[in-house]
């Protein structure tokens, strides 16, 4: 796994370092599972007794992220354990059994299991368990924030919000609280971030704006978490919070940049408005702002600086929005990367439009077209981890734009983040249609895509709007994601992907991972360099993707591939 490069705990390389507790009375399985999980770069603790496991969990309240337990155990019924864990610790629990009878599985689900694995368990199945952790966190954030944008994002984009960790501005208009989708711990909602189970930091619009201001003041090139923290003057914020947020931000920007590049490369309609001016705006903030201003329609930047915008854009007519978004994105990307040369190619590209929006969703890389996605993906991917820790507040949400293309975003999300996964299973259908509905360009993009992979496809479609364009790459990326979440379905694909330790994760969570390793034509991006946020070895993935990429008709290919 690539190193995250970030020193933050776990979140940096999410899902690497995921703390898993395995409970199984079968010593052989315990040993095998331990080894498999370790291979996934998870932190494993094993227990062969349910009682012991409960004690351990109670002892270390915040010591685990997820529990995997066998159903049949001598001292306690696995379902009982499941109940206890759910009630007391509220951790996601995965059940396992060699018995796959529907009634058992149903019982598991009824008792609150977030998944039920059949033995023999394959490595690839374990690789994706992080999605459950991620999903839970997103929902928690949602509960806490009660922002509609968050909800919407989640719903549409598969809750990539957290992924990107950037809930830039665009986030729900303050005051317009949406009821939580998940009505989880309602008592937690509205509580101060530190009271959250994991003391997540909620990056509100205001907070994010402070952040961006600080970044711009310091100068994007010279920025560092400590400096930012000092400038921001927020007492309860820690260096780690800022560090992970910065990381996400960078990813976002790089993604935008990539998207822009893609767009340019693709020959998409570069949004002139985005142009150099924005790029020149200066890293981060500047670009964002420019984007914001420029593309009021575009949510991209708007999100960042102008949540309102984002929202509006998202909601605005898809096409223009897309454009705007794309522009925004590109702008943002451009400016942020300070070398943004592409206009929002993403946006431009036929489907690109949708891309931008989608990109936004990603939170940073709203429109990262296929290619873009790759790199962007990473950031996004990273976002989840960050998101995890932080309840990304609207400000960071680029979601706004995403809204625009929920489809897009969602798609993307699916690809890399658990959100996608989870969408896949649950919202796939819902996601797909909605985005499509909102995003005509998207549908365009989708044309090439068979409906197979639920989200992936859509995203792929989105990304791959331009078969000829780099999007195809994205497309390739998509396939991966789809495969990822269509684990169940695309065995073969999965094989490929899953074989690579983090490819899948990369794909899913961090689309950017792909992007990162992706030998994109984009100019080297400072952030891109760090895109590997999720520490996944997108390398392989990228390789695969690249081979796929730029196929003339990648979308279609991908579709098939994915399927």
């Amino acid at each position: 796994m690539d190193s995250c490069g970030f020193s933050s705990p776990r979140t940096e390389c999410f899902p690497a370092g995921l703390r898993v507790l395995v409970v199984d009375d079968d010593p052989t399985w315990l040993k095998i599972l331990e080894k498999m999980l370790k291979k996934c770069n998870y932190e494993v603790t094993t227990c062969n007794l349910a009682r012991e496991a409960l004690d351990l969990l109670r002892e270390r309240k915040d010591g685990f992220d997820i529990v995997i337990s066998d159903v049949n155990m001598p001292d306690m019924d696995g379902f009982k354990l499941l109940e206890h864990v759910g009630l007391e610790m509220d951790l996601p629990v995965i059940m396992m059994s060699v018995d796959g009878e529907t009634s058992r599985v149903m019982k598991g689900v009824q008792h609150g299991a977030c998944d039920y694995l059949l033995k023999p368990i394959r490595m690839k199945e374990l690789r994706n368990i992080w999605q459950h952790v991620f999903r839970k966190r997103i929902h928690e954030v949602r509960d806490i924030e009660g922002h509609e944008s968050l909800d919407e994002m989640m719903l549409r984009s598969g809750a990539d919000l957290l992924d990107d960790g950037f809930f830039f501005g665009g986030d729900p208009v303050p005051g317009k609280k949406r009821k939580d989708v998940d009505h989880r711990s309602d008592d937690r909602v509205g509580g101060d971030p530190s009271s959250l189970k994991k003391a997540r930091v909620v990056w509100t619009v205001e907070l994010h704006q402070k952040f961006v201001k600080a970044v711009n003041l310091i100068g994007f090139e010279k920025v560092g978490p400590k400096k930012i923290l000092d400038l921001m003057g927020v007492p309860w914020l820690t260096r780690e919070n800022v560090a992970s947020h910065l990381q996400k931000y960078r990813l976002y920007l790089s993604r935008l940049q990539k998207e822009n590049e893609l767009r340019t490369t693709l020959g998409g309609t570069m949004h002139s408005d985005l142009s150099p001016k924005d790029a020149a705006a200066g890293p981060g903030n500047a670009s964002l702002q420019t984007l914001a201003t420029k593309s009021s329609k575009q949510n991209i930047s708007v999100h960042h600086d102008d949540p309102r915008n984002c929202e509006g854009i998202a909601k605005a007519s898809p096409t223009p929005m897309a454009e705007a978004k794309a522009a925004e994105i590109s702008d943002l990307a451009k400016s942020s990367t300070s070398s943004i040369s592409f206009d929002r190619p993403f946006v431009q590209s036929s489907d690109a439009k949708s891309e931008p929006t989608i990109q936004v969703q990603y939170s940073w890389s709203a429109g990262a077209p296929p290619l873009q996605f790759k790199p962007e993906q990473k950031p996004q991917a990273r976002a989840p981890p960050v998101g995890f820790k932080q309840e990304q507040k609207p400000p960071l949400r680029f979601k706004k734009e995403q809204h625009q293309k929920p489809l897009f975003v969602a798609e993307h999300r699916f690809d890399h983040t658990p959100v996608a996964m989870h969408h896949r299973t649950d919202n796939k259908t819902s996601d797909k249609p909605s985005p499509a509905a909102t995003d005509p360009p998207y549908s365009k993009a989708k044309r090439g895509q068979p409906s197979k992979a639920t989200k992936v496809e859509s995203t792929a479609a989105l990304f791959c709007i331009q078969p000829e364009s780099p999007f195809t790459d994205c497309h390739t990326i998509d396939p991966i994601p789809s495969s990822i979440w269509s684990t169940k379905t695309s065995q073969s694909f999965e094989q490929n992907l899953y074989d690579e330790p983090w490819h899948i994760n990369a794909l899913l969570g961090t689309g950017s991972a792909l992007a990162c390793d992706y030998t994109s034509p984009y100019p080297p991006n400072p952030y891109l360099g760090t895109i590997d946020p999720f520490c996944f070895n997108g390398q392989e993935l990228i390789t695969e993707v690249t081979s796929l990429k730029f196929p003339l008709d990648p979308v279609i290919d991908e579709g098939l591939y994915i399927a």
């Binding site: 079968d26 010593p27 052989t28 399985w29 040993k31 095998i32 080894k35 066998d70 060699v98 023999p120």
Partner: protein, 153 residues
Amino acid sequence: MEVQLQRSYLEYCNALFREGFLDGQFVQLQMLRDDSNPDFVMEVVILFFEDSQRILNELSKTLDEQNVDFKKIDANVHQLKGSSSSIGAQRVRNACIAFRSFCDAQDVESCLRCLQQVQQEYLLVKSKLEALLRLEQQIVAAGGVVPTLNDFS
């Protein structure tokens, strides 16, 4: 020399797969072996042997009792089914599945027969695995690398 051994090893493995003694899960295990844990497969297999023996003894004992506790039998067979699936001992697993159905019927005679069947399959796969591991050791001793199997599953 090791090439010869490797070839024999592969042939042997393929035969085992063909005959249903082992399935794709075993390949998964092989893939988990790495430099940090070269004896991984062997360790797992040994664990399997120990655990299986224990369960089989339990089953024997339970079936020997006056009032056979079928619930217990079922639980044990289920356990054995689980652990055999962990290393891919397909035939043992299948025997367990059959065993369970007779358990439901609460037929002691059939259960005894099933137990015998399971024991037989277990001993068979045990000897095969031991032979396999021996081959592996020979290969390593000769300075070679144990070839990776293709996933048949």
